[in-house]
């Protein structure tokens, strides 16, 4: 960005030099203010790290690390059990299931939008996806609890509990479809047209070109999209809190009630845990775990995305 240098004739403006100095001071001050605003983001990150670490430190003084990692029960309030595995298991179960919903639908929709759809269809699809992404998660939770479980899942699985992981996973999957779809669509469109033409020229059908040439070429972009969606699913709170219940357990059965790390934080905050108790400290610890997991996923995703862009731009 060029730095403008304009030399006004000092002769035409007697105090031109002084005015320029004052103007430059003011500009510098303004730039400083703007810089401060940009540094708010740095302060936010530092704040998050500091708060999470410092507030969860007392928790780790109380609970030994081995118990934390390997105990198979989580019941801070009632049973004094502090194993993180049940919460992690619940998070893992719901996230993976939601990806199982979102990846096929999102990727197929992305292939449709980039390889098959005409421009008017694409123009309708984008707003619909944006609306889907803009619906608040509490609404999705309500939908899971009051529609999906009784009317969709119970007919299929009569033994399903009222609160269950599957309904939460389904709606979270739907919630992240727009992320998967639009980022994958971008990745597919980044593949140059000449590659498609080369494949058509050796007598391949659209299916073969889309799935065996274009998709592999866009794979890292699609992977980054999936990872970003995964990070969102991991951090998802309200839909789980409403639809999946609040009983942490180690299980891979999607038909029962589970609790995730994020939903646990909300559950405790709803209640009256006084400051300084181990329960209060446990939500910061949970927040720390959540933060670290999503940070790791996001960093990997951005790295892959940056490398993908290097190849195609």
């Amino acid at each position: 960005m060029p730095r403008p240098e304009c030399e006004r004739q000092a002769a035409t403006q007697p105090d031109g030099a002084k005015m320029r100095r004052w103007q430059r001071l003011r500009e510098g001050g303004l730039e400083g203010v703007l810089l401060l605003c940009a540094l708010v983001s740095v302060a936010t990150t530092m704040g998050i790290v500091w708060v999470l670490f410092s507030e969860s430190l007392p928790f780790f003084r109380h609970v030994p690390l081995t118990e934390f990692l390997f105990d198979r029960q989580w019941a801070p309030r009632t049973g004094q059990e502090y194993g993180i595995l049940p919460l992690l298991c619940g998070t893992f179960l719901i996230s993976i299931l939601s990806l199982a919903v979102a990846i096929p639908i999102g990727l197929a929709a992305a292939i449709y939008l980039s390889e098959y759809a005409s421009r008017p269809v694409r123009q309708i699809a984008k707003p619909v996806l944006e609306i889907l992404a803009g619906i608040p998660t509490v609404v999705y939770g309500y939908f899971a609890l009051t529609f999906i479980t009784p009317h969709v899942l119970r007919p299929l699985f009569p033994s399903i509990e009222v609160f269950n992981a599957l309904s939460a996973a389904i709606v979270i999957g739907i919630m992240i479809v727009p992320t998967v779809c639009s980022l994958s669509d971008d990745a597919l469109r980044a593949v140059p047209r000449s590659l498609r033409e080369a494949a058509y020229a050796v007598s391949a059908t659209k299916l073969e070109v889309s799935t065996r040439i274009v998709l592999p070429a866009a794979l890292s972009g699609v992977t980054a999209a999936v990872l970003l969606a995964l990070a969102r699913a991991v951090g998802e709170t309200m839909a789980v809190a409403i639809a999946a219940g609040s009983t942490p357990k180690i299980t891979l059965n999607p038909l029962v009630s589970v609790q995730t790390v994020a939903a646990y934080i909300v559950q405790v905050s709803k209640g009256d845990a006084p400051t300084g108790t181990i329960e209060y400290q446990s939500i910061y610890m949970a927040g720390l775990i959540l933060f670290l997991i999503t940070l790791a996923i996001n960093l990997v995703a951005h790295r892959i995305m940056a490398r993908f862009r290097e190849v195609y731009e």
Partner: protein, 301 residues
């Protein structure tokens, strides 16, 4: 003549292209992809229909202007959470919009293109992916306790402002980057300083896109419940905030609270509250579209 009929389909002996089968498979695949794209729309429709069916009949002006009633649940209204949401929108806007625009302006127009700035950009992108509960925890410690704001609507708005700041900065940066370089260069060439160029030329040109982006970011804040619960919004209230330091409730929190109560009346009430929330969101989106259309009509180029 028969050779000419199938001239195109003739194959040398070793190719067995099974064109018919591949065509059918291709058709099925195309159909599956179309269905997937449709599925999103279908689910949306299903969701809206279900919510309407549950709570549509409860919508009325009375519903919007009365408080909750423990004696007769169906007589409850959403006045308290609705006003809480309104307060949150206002305060979050005041906190997030100026800072967001200022930060984006700095990063896009003033910052040198150095490694440090790239790290800053990466930092903002990562913050955009941090779960909203973590912002709630941050708000609880920093705003509620350290700044001694208590469980007030200001603390809640501050937490929400931090939540949407990264997204706001990113979309504003994109809006600024979309302004053609030629506009800046024209301004510099008549002797404008960088700030004058930004203030008088770049910002006005980018303003519609900035406002759209800001409104979309605010819509996200409107729908958030988790950070507010952590900060200490109340689920049941019969008051409306009258100052930034008052306690507060919010529509998403009310929805969460009611959806935990299993009886049929509450299912309906939740549906109605959801419709109010969606109405608020629809209003903000319409505002975004309207502003963008108005600006584009006013623009001379």
């Amino acid at each position: 003549m028969s050779q000419a009929d199938s001239a195109i389909d003739w194959q040398p002996v070793q190719f067995r292209p099974r064109l018919a089968a591949r065509r059918v498979l291709g058709g099925l695949f195309g159909l599956a992809c179309r269905l997937a794209a449709l599925a999103a729309g279908l689910v949306l429709g299903c969701l809206l229909w279900h919510v309407w069916r549950q709570g549509g009949h409860l919508l009325s002006l009375r519903f919007l202007t009365s408080f909750e009633s423990t004696l007769d649940p169906l007589a409850s209204g959403v006045k308290s959470p609705l006003w809480g949401t309104v307060w949150l929108i206002g305060l979050t806007t005041i906190l997030a919009v100026p800072v967001g625009i200022a930060a984006a302006v700095y990063l896009e127009e003033f910052a040198p293109r150095s490694r440090l700035m790239q790290l800053l950009h990466l930092n903002i992108a990562n913050l955009a992916g941090v779960p909203s509960v973590v912002y709630g925890l941050l708000g609880l410690t920093v705003f509620v306790r350290w700044c001694a704001l208590g469980r007030s609507v200001l603390a809640g708005a501050a937490a929400l402002a931090l939540l949407i700041l990264p997204v706001a900065i990113i979309t504003t940066r994109e809006a600024l980057a979309a302004v053609p370089q030629s506009i800046r260069q024209a301004a510099y060439s008549v002797g404008a300083t960088r700030w004058q160029t930004v203030r008088d030329h770049v910002l006005p040109a980018a303003l519609p896109a900035i406002m759209t982006g800001m409104i979309l970011a605010l819509s996200r804040a409107v729908g958030e419940a988790a950070p507010l619960i952590v900060v200490g919004a109340v689920a049941y209230s019969r008051t409306v905030p009258t100052s930034p330091l008052d306690g507060f409730s919010a529509l998403p929190i009310k929805i969460f609270n009611w959806s935990e109560l299993a009886s049929p009346e509450f299912v309906q009430l939740t549906g109605a509250a959801i419709l109010v929330l969606l109405g608020v969101l629809l209003g903000t989106s319409a505002l975004a579209v309207g502003i963008r259309a108005w600006y584009q009509r006013r623009r001379l180029w």
